[in-house]
């Protein structure tokens, strides 16, 4: 294939943005380019959200031996449109005792904060809205502020289920934010930059045809797994969906929301999931890089979204597979397992860096370094798991009020 055409296709959206911006006077051009980028984000990711809802329902249906939605359109793929019309036309109920202003602000703050997170996410080569030095820091700062909107929703509803759900959500998100950050730090450490674009660039290039993604190193693999677990908890997805456990809390913090505000919470949850998956891809899975050197002719944005869909599929699969944790298990897991493992992973990453300097390059040195680091992590994992399991008294469960 002609490399000129391939790179043209790769940059098609960037070129399009430039062409449209050129139609305007020079003063307005940066603004128009910016607005076009924002429109792109606001159009594409909710579009994927709509697709994800139907894919999730179909996928879960398949896993639970049923059909899932199949009435609207062929194979039920128009279901999200029907859902959107339904949630737009439903009555917006605000409980009489609710705190009206805060009740209204909560979903707005949530969705705005989550959309802001996309501003620094590189979805393709040269495709990032805001080129700032400290992009990863920006994302984590924005992510931390969604907790407050969840609290606002739960508190303002004046409903015990809402408040319980919000307290659970905030406690869970704060606990898992620590391992999430620490798991991400290894990638930042090895790149030496907080910019997502630089992190993707550092993972570019190939050894033979094999990509140099961080996930293929021992610390990268451990970091990726820990990041994925913490990301699941941070987005309140199953098996960490205690804040909205429908068998105990109706719908958790958004029990008292209806109509379009309910849809906004739903949107926020899925957008949050996709953005955190996007950052996981950026940090460990090579961002928009191709998984093999002979596949590089496929445009970078296609790779990013392919990886994103793979991550979404993984989330759906987990939801269909794993049972929900209990609150004490959740907290113990965060503080007794995740935190020590992430801290150890930091040490291993540092060791990897300096062992590389001492051993020099060469296939044997690389192999020894790889095995050594992997052995430390695996040994720590086994030791930690054994210690934690020994303390647990595993027996038939007794129910306090139902025996």
């Amino acid at each position: 294939m002609n490399p000129g055409i391939a790179s043209r296709v790769d940059q098609i959206f960037v070129i399009l943005q430039h062409r449209i911006a050129e139609l305007f006077p020079a003063v307005l051009q940066p603004w128009v380019a910016m607005i076009l980028g924002v429109v792109g984000i606001v159009a594409v990711f909710p579009g994927i959200f709509a697709l994800t809802t139907v894919l999730e329902r179909k996928g879960l249906g398949r896993m639970q031996n049923r059909l899932g939605p199949n009435r609207v359109g062929p194979f039920g793929i128009l279901q999200p449109i029907a859902d959107a019309i339904k949630s737009l036309t439903k009555e917006d109920i605000v409980p009489r005792t609710a705190d009206e202003v805060v009740h209204f602000l909560a979903p707005v703050v949530l969705v705005v904060a989550i959309f802001l997170g996309y501003a620094v996410l590189p979805v393709g080569r040269n495709m990032v809205l805001l080129k700032i030095d400290s992009g990863i820091l920006f994302f984590f700062a924005i992510g931390a502020s969604t907790e407050l909107s969840i609290f606002m929703a739960g508190w303002s509803s004046r409903n015990k289920y809402s408040l319980l759900g919000a307290m659970r959500a905030v406690a869970q998100m704060i606990s898992y934010e620590v391992p999430l950050l620490l798991a991400a730090v290894v990638a930042i450490m090895m790149t030496g930059s907080l910019s997502p674009t630089a992190i993707v660039r550092a993972q570019g290039g190939f050894t033979g045809f094999f990509p140099r993604w961080y996930v293929f190193t021992p610390w990268g693999f451990a970091g990726f797994v820990l990041f994925a677990i913490a990301a699941l908890a941070e987005t309140n997805r199953s098996p960490f969906d205690l804040p909205e456990g429908e068998s105990e809390l109706v719908a958790g913090y958004f029990t008292e929301y209806s109509g379009f505000k309910f849809a906004l919470f739903f949107l926020g949850e899925y957008l949050g999931m996709m953005s955190i998956a996007g950052y996981g891809i950026t940090l460990f899975l090579g961002g928009w890089g191709a998984p093999a050197s002979f596949l590089e002719f496929i445009p970078s944005w296609a790779w990013f979204f392919a990886k994103l869909f793979l991550a979404i599929f993984f989330f759906i699969w987990l939801r269909g597979t794993l049972p929900r944790l209990r609150q004490d298990q959740l907290m113990n897991f965060a503080w007794k397992f995740m935190l020590p493992m992430t801290l150890l992973n930091l040490m291993v990453a540092a060791a990897w860096r300096f062992l590389g300097e001492w051993f020099g390059t060469g296939i044997l040195a690389e192999g020894v370094r790889w095995l050594l680091c992997a052995a430390i992590l695996a040994g720590a994992y086994v030791a930690l798991a054994l210690t934690l399991l020994r303390r647990q008294k595993i027996a038939a469960r007794s129910y306090r009020y139902a025996d």
């Binding site: 700032i132 820091l137 920006f138 407050l148 907080l194």
Partner: protein, 169 residues
């Protein structure tokens, strides 16, 4: 022109949050209003191109301190109870006096300090430079702060730990 407008907007946002935090009746509203002030401050830092400080402000104050305040209100049962009469403590005159005195001192200091020449370009400080400084010349203070925080954390856990049955009486 544009910068002045932005600054004015952010200043109004920050100050209105602070005023709300002081004057609103419901404690949770006060906490949320205080958060608005934190947001305004973070935006002011970002407006000054101080990315690291601004984003840290968001991460620490909105992500942690605001949540801490809100949790404290909920756990101490202060939420939902609204005072029916003005809550003025006995020593409010002293408080006013102190506030006015501090205000005068600050305004006096502001008026007497010479303004730096505005045509000197602000130094370009990247996050990378801050990181190098923190890990290089300032590594000892950083470690001391870290140890101090860890000690505080362990202390808090020990205070909060439930006493074992044998030791309680």
């Amino acid at each position: 022109m544009m910068e002045g407008f932005l600054f004015g907007l952010l200043a109004v946002l920050t100050l209105s949050g602070a005023v709300g935090a002081a004057l609103l009746r419901n404690l949770v509203h006060c906490a949320l209003s205080l958060t608005l002030t934190f947001v305004g401050l973070a935006l002011l830092y970002l407006n000054l191109d101080a990315q690291f400080v601004g984003l840290s402000q968001v991460l620490v104050y909105i992500g942690a301190v605001a949540i801490l305040v809100v949790f404290a209100i909920l756990l101490t049962g202060g939420a939902g109870k609204m005072p029916t009469h003005p809550t003025v403590s006995a020593g409010w005159r002293t408080g006013w006096l102190a506030a006015v005195a501090v205000g005068f001192v600050l305004i006096g200091a502001l008026l007497h300090s010479p303004l730096p020449h505005s045509d000197v370009p602000a130094p370009e400080v990247t996050v990378q430079q801050i990181g190098r400084l923190l890990m290089g010349p300032y590594v000892l203070p950083l470690e001391i702060v870290a140890v101090l925080l860890t000690v505080a954390l362990i202390g808090a856990v020990i205070v909060a730990m439930p006493e074992r049955k044998g030791e309680s009486k």
